[in-house]
Amino acid sequence: MNRAALKKLLTVEDESRRRAVFVALLSGEMVRRGAERPIVVGGEAVELYTQGRYTTGDIDLKGRKETLEAILAEWGFVRQGRIWVSKEYGIYIDWLGGSLDEGAKAENKTNIIALDDENEIRVVSLEDLIIDRLCAAKYWNDQDSLMWSKNLMEILVRTGGPDRQYLKARAEKEKVADILSSILPEEGDK
């Protein structure tokens, strides 16, 4: 993709929409170069699922480092520590590793978000994101994270429903089963 196509990003006023479009463009470019689509994790994943209600400053990605860095450098990003920064687009990329820490099962559960027919974003599953927020709520006593986990659960219920077995297994492992049970709707409930 040439830089002119990327410049269109500057016309996207809403920053959460701009980040979403950027990740889709970056993902498409990575696929074109033979890599897998990167996986969006962390705050940007929450921002995507909540359709911009949660806002984040940076984009946390998992994926093939060499390809990602080559593209970012070509697109004018500058590396600062482990963060890649574009002053022009106001975008910060934080590469967090090649694959999900939660393993192959979590990778199989990722969602593809379609912005249109061609532009797609791969995102960590709602189940894994909920567990991540529950851990923050329990171990860091972060009430915001508990509230976001409830919101994510609501979104999960409306987009196919939770994989209860997977959620419970992950919650047991992370020792957050007690909080999970407080936000997991009864089976059969909407």
């Binding site: 909540t50 911009g52 978000i113 919101n151 609501e154």
Partner: protein, 74 residues
């Protein structure tokens, strides 16, 4: 004093960039609010997010992909 929104936005972005360059803030560090929100505010944010969910209901397309209408490219 009259402030222009776009000027403020530009200044905010430049300031953030300077702080990152100086190493004063790390954009990759997970942010936890130092001052917890009160229950009413948390409930408000929760409801605002549900309102967006109602206004832009997500769905799965024929390929099983998630479509989030707020982000849909027109």
């Amino acid at each position: 004093m009259r402030l222009d929104y776009n000027d403020l936005k530009k200044i905010g972005r430049e300031t953030r960039m300077e702080l990152i360059e100086r190493g004063d803030i790390d954009p990759g560090r997970r942010r936890i609010r130092g001052k917890p929100r009160d229950a009413e505010k948390l409930d408000l944010i929760y409801r605002m997010t549900l309102d967006r969910l109602e206004q832009y209901p997500p769905y799965r397309d024929e390929k099983g992909r998630l479509v989030l209408p707020y982000f849909k490219i027109q």
